[in-house]
């Protein structure tokens, strides 16, 4: 077992654990945000740079600090490591910068985006961003395209986390979905705008941290915070059939996978469950559930982790920011 201390909390983890995984074991505010890494997707992570942390002591053997911030999602723990996340001003500064970078080309169209309310980028910006904007250039723009007849792609909103690419790679036999072009004009796309021919392709919607990939059977039907999340299951020959049914009254608006407190789906579900079973009789509804991940919809209002309830957090934050400047 390896010992690691993150923000003054110590834990022992097995060989091969990353700093991020160790932090998730501790839980709470020591967990760095992760926009691209996904525990269930091999090869993911390292790209968005939101999970950067400071290694203030490299290991028990060599306690020198590492010269640069490291991506906690892809850096394995070494015995005796001391890591700073929220306790390092350098980390907070870098994270603020990353949020800014992620937002400069983002269309900020939350009012018309289906993801609003359960969007990782909203949460991230809320926790780490600044209210003002220094960007005054034009933003990059793409056409909205279809990935098959069930999934919509808004490339404008994409933060290029590559998660959907890994999903497609790991479920489909041959490569059908990937990145075209380079740099800030790169875009995700399927082979000549085809669908992804696989029963599990719908999961690219669930892994998308933003509103780039949305469910066409749910688009513009309702806002997520008006819906009641219910755990439900059915006897499905293809997948586990364990889902969350998002309901309004007796009507099912959409089906998603069940997500854990870090926003990752517990089990991938099949397209039949997700897109076709919208009738209440298709499901055994177990009962209402809470959204474990801290997010805008978790209590119908936003709450920062482990701070006592704030009446209007946004107001206070804006005030603070204005005072800072």
């Amino acid at each position: 077992m390896l010992k690691i201390t993150i923000d003054n909390q110590t834990i022992e983890v097995a060989e091969g654990t990353t700093i991020l995984q160790a932090a998730r074991k501790i839980g709470g505010s020591v967990v760095p945000p992760a926009m691209c890494w996904y525990s269930k997707l091999d090869g993911s992570g390292g790209k968005c740079r939101t999970c950067l942390v400071k290694v203030s002591e490299g290991s028990a053997k060599d306690p020198r600090p590492l010269p640069k911030l490291v991506a906690s999602c892809r850096t394995p723990v070494i015995d005796g490591m001391v890591v700073q996340n929220k306790t390092s001003p350098e980390v907070l500064e870098a994270r603020k910068a990353i949020v800014e970078f992620l937002l400069i080309n983002h269309p900020l169209d939350c009012p018309v985006c289906d993801q609003a309310g359960e969007c990782d980028l909203q949460d991230l910006s809320y926790d780490n961003g600044k209210v003002s904007c220094r960007y005054q250039e034009s933003r990059r723009e793409f056409d909205v395209i279809d990935i098959g007849n069930l999934i919509k792609l808004h490339m404008n909103r994409c933060i290029l986390c590559f998660r959907c690419v890994y999903v497609a790679e790991q479920i489909a036999g041959k490569r059908v979905h990937g990145i075209l072009y380079r740099g800030d004009v790169s875009e995700i796309s399927t082979y000549i705008k085809n669908s992804i021919p696989n029963d599990f392709s719908g999961n690219i919607i669930d892994v998308c941290p933003v509103g780039a990939l949305t469910d066409k059977t749910f688009r513009f039907k309702n806002r997520v915070w008006f819906l009641k999340p219910m755990t439900a299951h059915r006897n499905c020959p293809t997948c586990s059939g364990k889902v969350i049914a998002w309901m309004f009254g007796n009507e099912i608006y959409r089906i998603t996978g069940r997500k854990d407190e870090f926003g990752e789906v517990e089990e991938f579900i099949c397209n039949k469950c997700r897109f076709e079973k919208k009738n209440i009789n298709d499901w055994t509804v177990e009962g209402p559930t809470t959204i474990k991940r801290h997010s805008v919809i978790s209590q119908n209002h936003y709450e920062e982790i482990k701070t006592p309830s704030i009446i209007n957090p946004l107001e206070e934050k804006m005030e603070k920011q204005t005072n800072d400047e």
């Binding site: 992570g45 740079r49 220094r134 740099g183 790169s186």
Partner: protein, 447 residues
């Protein structure tokens, strides 16, 4: 001063061909290595030579070789990095074009030392014309028994292949190069693991620059000590410098490390001074990625010593007042050069070449380019200058690969040393809009 290791024979007619090359002592090192030396002895000699990577970072080659994982029983690979796409750097292609056998000779010795049986030369996509030259040289080496099975009757076998990229600067970054060589999109890998452990096809791999490998033959022939006696201090041996910009004699020069920068710029046998008898304004001594420094700081360090062409001397003063030897792309600017335009041009390059994997580089390079475009074209404001510094600062150190740093340094250093130029552009947009720019202007109005 003035000893040559690499380009000694470059002017001999038809030195490209195996027979001529061989007649001038070529491939002697292979015979010596395979027949009289143990692999570890060669590594020892390379360590002693103090040879440092010529691809830009200057990492000691012998030390890098010792990191190669020799315990796993996977095959090991040697990859020669001939992607050379850094603006201002054009030395590797000169070497490959003139002396392809020198590279092959060095690679055979290196492969023997590293226990490698398959070696690749990865060249930049635009170097199509080199494909034929290198392939012919490799074929000749096969025919004469220096490549293939049981080289020179020993039990060492080596196959060598040339592979062209598709024309991306990022494929010069070693892990992106490996991805590209595997036939994938050229995105840098996330490290660790490093190529020495998990490299090409997940096997232990050494990636070295063309010039680095071309030096190995000499080290085998004459020993590490002989190599280390050339040069100065920890900057041993010679270095190819590709000089360009506003100078009288642009071209590729092999210099002994340790000569003064002043001599290099003004001596007739090198750059030959500034063109049209103008004043020197600034120099980028190691390819577009390294910080630009003004005349006062390139000829002398901040503490008043003469600046020398060595890794240490050029770096003296850190980012405050120093720069780097980098890959040896020596770009000289005369007093009429517009630093803002130049910075915009560089940042346009990095914006275009960013692979787009990580957010600071993908978004930051484009942002900087747009701001610099505005300033250069008379639409800037004062706040933009500090904003640029801040963006560069936020990119630096937060990215997957050093391209992010490479994009940030030229901008940060240009503003550090030439802030007045930027302020001028903001204050006098009308004048700026009407300036006709030297080389670029001529080029644009050629016909």
């Amino acid at each position: 001063m003035g000893r040559k290791i690499l380009l000694e024979n470059s002017d001999i007619p038809n030195i490209k061909s195996f027979d001529v090359f061989r007649a001038h002592g070529g491939y002697f090192s292979v015979e010596k290595a395979l027949k009289t030396m143990a692999p570890d002895e060669i590594i020892e000699e390379v360590k002693k030579s103090g040879l440092r990577g010529r691809g830009g970072a200057g990492f000691p080659t012998g030390l890098k070789w010792t990191f190669l994982d020799r315990k796993s029983n996977k095959p090991r690979y040697l990859v020669c990095n001939g992607d050379e796409s850094e603006p201002g750097t054009f030395k590797d292609r000169y070497l490959m074009e003139k002396l392809p056998h020198l590279l092959i000779e060095g690679m055979i010795c290196s492969s023997f030392a590293l226990g490698v049986n398959t070696a690749y030369i990865y060249i930049r996509g635009e170097f199509k014309y080199l494909l034929g030259i290198l392939n012919q040289a490799i074929n000749e080496a096969y025919k004469n028994g220096f490549l293939g099975k049981n080289i020179l009757g020993t039990n060492f076998s080596l196959d060598m292949y040339v592979h062209p990229g598709a024309g991306a600067y990022i494929c010069g970054e070693e892990t992106a190069l490996l991805e590209s060589l595997e036939g994938k999109r050229g995105n840098p890998r996330i490290k660790p693991p490093f190529p020495a452990v998990v490299g090409l096809y997940d096997c232990p791999t050494v990636v070295n620059n063309v010039e680095t490998l071309a030096n190995v033959g000499y080290i085998v022939n004459f020993g590490g000590d002989a190599y280390a006696s050339i040069g100065l201090g920890k900057s041993t041996g010679t270095k190819l410098i590709s000089a360009c910009g506003n100078i009288n004699n642009p071209g590729v020069y092999e210099i002994e490390l340790g000569m003064s920068v002043e001599d290099f710029i003004y001596k007739e046998e090198f750059c030959g001074g500034i063109k049209d008898k103008l004043e020197l304004k600034a120099v980028v001594p190691g390819g577009s990625s390294v910080p630009i420094v003004p005349k006062e700081l390139i000829l002398f360090t901040a503490s008043g010593e003469k600046r020398l062409m060595t890794y240490e001397s050029l770096a003296e003063g850190g980012f405050e007042s120093g720069t780097m030897l980098g890959s040896g792309g020596f770009i000289v600017y005369d007093e009429n050069a517009c630093i803002v335009r130049n910075t915009w041009n560089f940042s346009r390059f990095y914006h275009h070449e960013s692979c787009g994997q990580c957010s600071p580089c993908r978004e930051g390079t484009g942002w900087m380019e747009k701001i610099l475009w505005r300033i250069e074209h008379g639409h800037g404001n004062m706040k933009d200058i500090d904003l640029l510094v801040s963006i560069a600062d936020k990119i630096e150190g937060n990215t997957i690969c050093p391209l992010g740093d490479a994009a940030a340094w030229p901008v940060a250093s240009a503003i550090r040393h030439f802030r007045e130029d930027f302020i001028f552009h903001v204050q006098y947009p009308e004048i700026v809009k009407n300036i006709k720019h030297g080389a670029l202007y001529k080029y644009e109005n050629q016909d």
